[in-house]
Symmetry: C2
Subunit: 142 residues, 2 copies
DNA sequence: TAGCATATACAATCTAATTGCAAATGCAAA
DNA sequence: TTTGCATTTGCAATTAGATTGTATATGCTA
């Protein structure tokens, strides 16, 4: 898939949730697609700043796209919102956990980490789990 | 137990972690002891403001007492730090997961919740996990 | 391509949280 | 009890993430 068809696909994805496919939004989604882990408001804004996109616009777009269901807005416990694309199939109920390094702040998606069956039952007694977060020190920071 | 002996006990607890038992700290700990759920920086500061305690002092004391191991500083997903007293026995090294209700802020310890064996291996590839957090909406808030 | 609702840039604002520093105070030792 | 001094406090300024107001510009549908 070349860059042009990528952009077309991105525009379609944005329009599919009822938003206009503006350059700032295309750039935002492209950025999130090539990122390997969720990006903060600030990280996205800093990148888009090079394209002349205003910080407030970047923030509004992230929030709007999250509200529209295109992105997931995650709060990992360090007072920063992080955004990642919500691919088809991954609904709201997708529970793939995140690992947050308390030293460097890096975030890793842990697709394959699951709770044991008994654990899921136990946690359901308490409430409906919407997010699983592991915190610790990543290998680079040991 | 009367108020006087309460205060004596509170002062002892503060001194036990190597801090001076100042009026502001005594008031802070007393407040947290009578609270039924963790309090935010701002809530504590607002209460102590009536005693003439400065906001910066309130914030510093909460952080200092948390660093000293007297309080737990929790992040419940709404970008506010919340503090609660860490009673004896609850150490820093308790690795059992916690469930945080994003609505009411209640915290539940999930002693029995575990990761699958494969998940532990997978997460160890990323780093050393020191905390497991489940977030969602508790049964009271459904 | 014209019309208009949506989106943007720019600037101001808000709130949580932190920091610098001189003055005040807890508390341990004399 | 008093003294010495490190710790703590008050006050003010500041940082940083995030949000909001508004006039202008632009996507996109008819």
């Amino acid at each position: 898939m070349n860059a042009r068809s990528d952009i077309k696909e991105i525009k379609n994805a944005i329009r599919a949730v009822g938003l206009r496919a503006t350059p700032a939004r295309v750039a935002t989604l492209r950025l999130l697609r090539q990122a390997t882990s969720p990006m903060t408001h600030g990280e996205v804004a800093a990148e888009l700043d090079e394209n002349g996109v205003d910080k407030a616009t970047a923030f509004r777009n992230l929030n709007d796209m999250a509200d529209a269901g295109l992105l997931r807005r995650a709060e990992l416990g360090d007072h920063l919102y992080r955004f990642e694309e919500l691919r088809d199939g991954e609904g709201e109920h997708d529970l793939h956990p995140h690992f947050l390094c308390v030293d460097c702040g890096s975030v890793t998606c842990l697709e394959e980490v699951k709770l044991t069956v008994g654990s899921r039952k136990a946690s359901e007694q308490v409430g409906e789990v919407s997010e699983i977060l592991l915190r610790g020190r990543c290998n680079n920071c040991q």
